[in-house]
């Protein structure tokens, strides 16, 4: 299949899977500091969030501001299962995904009937309601105090020994594995009849419906799959940081995810990955200019929307790569 060789035909980036996998496996062992490894883990969690959001907003054309809600629902599901029933992440992780997906089915069956501004605003109201529940249902969530002490899982493989995922190196593989499964699933959906349907509906919903592509059903699939992975990301986050609080539902989380998707490139596979990594690492290394950081993010977001609606990945595929190829062909000719 074509896309097993090319990560994304539109960007034309030719990524050989074994090479990429080898690099990802080698990364923790090339002498990175604990801090850099931490940033890689956070990047991987954000890759899950941005790739799944890109499925909804990039391919589905639905600007959902509710993605942070499913992230938070997943984190709380995992945390509560651990705190109340001592279930480890091996139960919490799938449970978080499933609970988020069920929540998405419930709200989706109402929200996905409307489009445009009405959908944007309802999704925003939903995440605010979830935040208020997390703050006020003190008996369940301990409100603003949050839920601390969520342990990372431990796995015992007979003959190999015990792996404690409290170690950053071990958790790195867990997070990167999760990110890889998410990106792969999103890519599979995008390059399937469901993905083609989504694109058709995004470009012209009436026309799509008239040839028998159900807008509601397709939007629902994107929304629920996206929410499932947001829940998975939430569970990983909860077990990695060991702490969840209502802050997970803050608008700033939503904005972070949006920025990663939009600046990376919203209807591409690679864009959200690049965006997630860039916007995890850049803010950390821009600490020198800490106070200007968010202003800068705002400027870049605004500029991207106005000038490069398809993100920085397009910058590569439209200008840099052709320039690069021209340069190379000139070298060959010479």
């Amino acid at each position: 299949m074509a896309f097993s060789r090319n990560l994304d035909p539109r960007t034309g980036l030719f990524l050989r899977w074994p090479v990429l996998a080898a690099v990802l496996v080698a990364l923790p062992f090339i002498g990175l500091t604990g801090y850099e490894l931490h940033l890689l883990i956070v990047s991987a969690i954000f890759v899950i969030l941005s790739s799944s959001l890109s499925l909804i907003m990039g391919y589905g054309g639905l600007l959902s501001l509710a993605h942070a809600a499913f992230f938070g629902i997943g984190a709380y599901t995992s945390a509560l299962l651990f705190m109340n029933f001592k279930f480890s992440m091996w139960v919490g992780l799938p449970a978080a995904g499933i609970v988020s997906a069920i929540a998405a089915i419930c709200v989706g069956s109402l929200f996905l009937k409307v489009r445009g501004h009405r959908f944007v605003i309802t999704s925003l109201a939903f995440v605010e309601i979830m935040r208020l529940i997390a703050v006020n249902a003190v008996d369940l969530t301990r409100g603003q105090m949050g839920l601390p002490g969520i342990a990372a899982p431990v796995i015992t493989i007979p003959g190999v020994g015990t792996i404690d995922f409290a170690s950053k190196t071990a958790f790195y593989f867990l997070a990167v594995g999760g990110a890889a499964i998410c990106v792969w699933t999103v890519a599979r959906i995008v390059h399937s009849p469901i993905g083609w349907g989504l694109l058709a509906l995004r470009e012209n919903e009436n026309l799509g419906e008239s040839v028998g592509v159900s807008a509601f059903r397709h939007a629902m699939i994107a929304f629920v799959v996206g929410a499932f992975f947001a829940g998975i990301a939430g569970s990983l986050y909860a077990h990695y940081t060991g702490f969840v609080s209502p802050d997970l539902f803050f608008f700033s989380y939503t904005v972070t995810m949006l920025v990663m998707v939009v600046i990376g490139g919203k209807a591409t596979i690679l864009g959200p990955i690049v965006g997630a990594i860039a916007f995890t690492f850049l803010p950390e290394y821009l600490r020198v200019v800490a106070q200007y950081r968010l202003v800068l993010v705002g400027v870049v977001l605004l500029a991207t929307v106005l000038a490069f609606p398809n993100g920085i990945v397009e910058l590569w595929s439209r200008w840099l790569r052709p320039a690069f190829l021209r340069l190379r062909s000139r070298d060959h000719a010479a």
Binding site: M57, G61, L63, L110, F111, K113, V114, G116, H117, R118, V120, I121, T122, L124, A125, F126, E128, I129, L132, I133, N136, F251, V255, L258, V262, Q291, Y292, R293, L294, V295, V297, G298, V299, V300, L301, L302, V305, L306, P309
Partner: protein, 286 residues
């Protein structure tokens, strides 16, 4: 409890009128440009912060600081319409929402750099002693805010209904193409609408800032509240947003008596229900 009722209604009215000031601009921008402006609350914040800056740092009297800061933000609104929003006119809802989120980030964090994160009180010459009007306890600053807001709303009404510009603006609001056909300068109308909306929000911030505190983070909450109000009143309806603002303010004030924990959630639940089932707002006859 019941004897406190007028007090709660008065407090709610005060907050509600400020919601209305922000919501009018937001609803006008939506009506005339089809943009849900997530950055609109930032004009409210800037109005408050600039008033604080002029009154506290430049030692100007409060009554001078308010009109100056409103004028500054009005100018900024006019400029932003030219530079940013004009480009967004033909873009999708997604692009325009994302752009206004970016603009909100810039304005909020720019203000954070300039004014610092601490909540500040705007110094005024009003007496801090409470006044008693029948069953209601209030202060001079609160009375001033209510009076100025009420006067502004009346002026807005007169402007929209009894002046040439106001009529042209309403025409653009209702049917842009038809308005253009009768030689109404659409671009200029959009500029004026945007500047006016920004100025009204700034006035709200300058007035309420003298009663509560001002800080750069206050704009984001105000945007959310204004969204609720705009939706309660019907997207694009100016009278709706005034009634919606006062309705939300009073409902929140009374809601504090019933359950303070979930009072904010009521607004958002209403928003979802209205967006899904009554997109023209609560008050419009179907």
């Amino acid at each position: 409890m019941l004897d406190l009722l007028p007090q709660f209604v008065f407090n709610g009215l005060l907050i509600g009128m400020s919601y209305a000031l922000v919501a009018i601009g937001m609803t006008m921008i939506f009506g005339i440009m089809n943009i849900a402006n997530f950055a609109h609350g930032e004009f409210y914040m800037l109005g408050g912060c600039i008033t604080y800056f002029i009154a506290a740092k430049l030692n100007a009297p409060y009554l001078v600081a308010v009109p100056v800061s409103v004028a500054v933000v009005t100018g900024l609104g006019f400029l932003l319409e030219r530079v940013v929003f004009r480009q967004l006119r033909l873009k999708s809802a997604m692009s325009s929402v994302l752009a206004t989120i970016g603009l909100g980030l810039i304005l909020q964090n720019g203000a954070l750099i300039f004014f610092g994160p601490q909540p500040q009180a705007i110094p005024t010459s009003f007496s801090a002693f409470p006044l008693q009007l029948g069953p209601i306890f209030t202060t001079e600053a609160r009375l001033f805010a209510v009076a100025v807001t009420a006067a502004t709303l009346v002026l807005m009404y007169v402007f929209l209904n009894h002046t040439l510009y106001g009529t042209a603006m309403r025409a653009t609001f209702q049917q842009t193409e038809a308005a253009a056909l009768v030689a109404i300068p659409i671009d200029r109308m959009r500029g004026i609408t945007f500047a006016l909306g920004a100025g009204l929000a700034a006035l709200g911030g300058a007035l309420l800032g003298a009663i509560f505190f001002v800080q750069p983070a206050m704009g984001a909450t105000e945007s959310l509240k204004a969204f609720i109000v705009v939706i309660l009143g019907g997207l694009g309806s100016i009278p709706g947003s005034i009634v919606g603002g006062i309705f939300l303010g009073v409902a929140e004030s009374l809601g504090t008596v019933v359950s303070s924990a979930y009072k904010d959630a009521i607004g958002f639940v209403l928003v979802i229900i209205i967006m899904l089932y009554r997109p023209d707002g609560l008050f419009k006859k179907s």
